[in-house]
């Protein structure tokens, strides 16, 4: 295709394919830089703790509410079917298996992708377009280590904690519902619930949460770090952070479930 200035331009489809692979290359470079910087001293402890507070503590309220509602609703929805077969006594273990194996990691991850991922994308994007990241560079500060490594690490560590907390609150919500209908005691409920949970279930959940946390951190930081085009770019960075994180989380969910089921 010839452009107006007479130069030979690439066809649109070729340019798009090039762009697609360029994004993968840039992500690989970004990941490589993360692993290179993450294990080099000095560690930015102050910023890391601040990010743990932002990611973990500030997400607690949302994780509590969603975990509790999930537990109650899942119990309410499962009861009629189990009643038909006269096995409502299975409710605690059914809820525990569903929550630990699937619901808690996914819910905690989706909440963090929406709440924290968008915030990281917007914050870094805003710093990028207002030259605050360049200002760190020229002050002989390593902005990647200070901004990216701390956020990704905090996300990777805090998401498993939020996930286990979410699972516990989900079971608590379920217990309240079961206690109200079946008058089951707390000890009996949790005995039944956790009797069916194996070490592999905990390992699966932990693996998922670590991977989801890392994914959200990397995707959000990558989007923010590469933001351009002023305020529009900041909005785009926040938006794309959430969409891509969620998309990757679901893909990872499918892969991890298949891998661990083959081990089981």
């Amino acid at each position: 295709m010839n452009s107006t200035n007479g130069k030979q331009d690439k066809p649109v489809i070729t340019a798009k394919i090039d762009g697609f692979f360029l994004v993968f290359y840039n992500i690989a470079v970004f990941l490589g830089r993360f692993f290179r910087e993450a294990f080099r001293p000095p560690v930015e402890w102050g910023e890391f703790v601040r990010q743990c507070y932002q990611v973990g503590y500030k997400s607690l309220a949302l994780v509590t509410v969603t975990g509790f509602i999930t537990g109650v609703v899942f119990t309410e929805q499962s009861r009629p079917t189990l009643s038909e077969f006269g096995v409502t006594a299975w409710l605690p273990s059914l809820v525990a298996i569903a929550v630990v194996r699937a619901l808690a990691p996914l819910i905690a991850a989706l909440i963090c992708a929406g709440k924290v991922g968008s915030s990281i994308g917007a914050e870094l994007g805003s710093m990028k377009v207002t030259e605050q990241i360049d200002a760190m560079e020229v002050s002989a500060i390593n902005p990647f280590r200070y901004l990216v490594v701390t956020r990704v690490t905090a996300m990777t560590i805090c998401l498993p904690l939020l996930m286990f907390y979410n699972a516990l609150i989900g079971c608590l919500g379920s217990y309240i519902d079961v206690h109200a209908h079946e008058q089951t005691s707390l000890i009996s409920f949790f005995d039944n619930a956790f009797a069916q949970i194996t070490f592999l279930d905990y390992t699966t959940a932990l693996t998922k949460a670590i991977l989801y946390g890392f994914t959200i951190g990397i995707v959000s930081c990558y989007q923010g770090w590469n933001a351009s085009q002023g305020t529009m770019g900041v909005g785009k960075a926040a938006n794309v952070s959430v969409i891509v994180s969620m998309f990757l989380i679901f893909i990872e969910e499918v892969i991890i479930v298949h891998v661990f089921n083959s081990i089981r």
């Binding site: 000095p42 805003s126 207002t130 030259e131 200002a135 560079e137 020229v138 002050s139 002989a140």
Partner: protein, 257 residues
């Protein structure tokens, strides 16, 4: 008027730029730039918007890489340095952004303390506080320490941006449009600050601007850039005695209109 008490050392070039080229796609921004900045000297780079002035100082500090040519700062070729060495060099070169680029989540005091904390981890809180106070006093804003950038005027932000670079005691200062977007009185105050910085901190500076008053006030030497090249260099009077082409347009716009 300029109050230059420090002698320019013509035998000691702290920045040497030779045959510098930089393009962005089809746009050739720098096309063979040569420049020496001598110790104790203020060089003003004048030119229209989009002529590559900011690109030039971003290459000097290593934020951008040139396509061809060499940039030697304090004896080091910037594009040849490893990350750690580049960081060492940046401790000696201050960069004042056009937008000030203050960290908007930090107070003024935290903005100033931040480079010091990260680069001098042995500094105590008292030492940091004392250094911040000295710099705030030097830039004439001692009462802003607890204010956020959003609470400052444009001129104050520029001053704090300069202060943040001074906290590391650089040998060279790079100013990107220090008076852009400011009223004439605030611009005049900024010009005085740039001269005061040179006097008090013994710096050599490159000042990027399109403001002729700024160039006249702060520059020991002026280099006029057009289409990626220097078309005229010399003292302000030498350059503007011969008012032709771009230089005439600049002069007319700044001093007649």
């Amino acid at each position: 008027m300029k109050e230059n008490n420090h002698q320019v050392d013509r035998n000691n070039a702290v920045i040497k730029i030779r045959d510098l080229y930089k393009s962005f796609g089809d746009k050739h921004v720098l096309q063979g730039i040569d420049l020496d900045l001598y110790k104790g000297e203020n060089v003003v780079v004048l030119g229209r918007s989009g002529t590559g002035k900011s690109v030039l100082i971003k290459i000097i500090i290593g934020l951008l890489k040139q396509d061809a040519g060499t940039v030697n700062v304090l004896g080091e070729d910037v594009d040849q340095l490893k990350d750690a060495d580049l960081r060492e060099l940046r401790l000696k070169v201050g960069f004042s952004f056009q937008s000030s680029a203050l960290y908007d989540s930090m107070t003024v005091g935290e903005n100033l303390a931040f480079p010091l904390q990260r680069n001098n981890r042995s500094f105590t809180k008292d030492q940091i506080r004392k250094t911040v106070d000295i710099v705030l006093e030097a830039i004439g804003l001692p009462d802003t320490i607890n204010q956020l950038p959003s609470e400052l005027s444009g001129g104050q932000k520029k001053r704090i941006g300069i202060g943040r670079t001074l906290i590391l005691r650089p040998e060279i200062m790079l100013y990107d449009e220090p008076t852009a977007g400011l009223d004439p009185i605030t611009s005049m105050e900024l010009n005085k600050l740039i001269i005061a910085v040179k006097e008090r901190f013994n710096t050599s500076s490159i000042i990027i601007t399109h403001d002729l008053t700024c160039a006249k006030e702060v520059g020991d030497r002026v280099a006029v850039m057009d289409e990626g090249k220097f078309i005229q260099t010399g003292t302000f009077d030498e350059v503007f005695n011969e008012k032709t082409g771009l230089i005439k347009s600049f002069y007319d716009y700044n001093f007649i209109q």
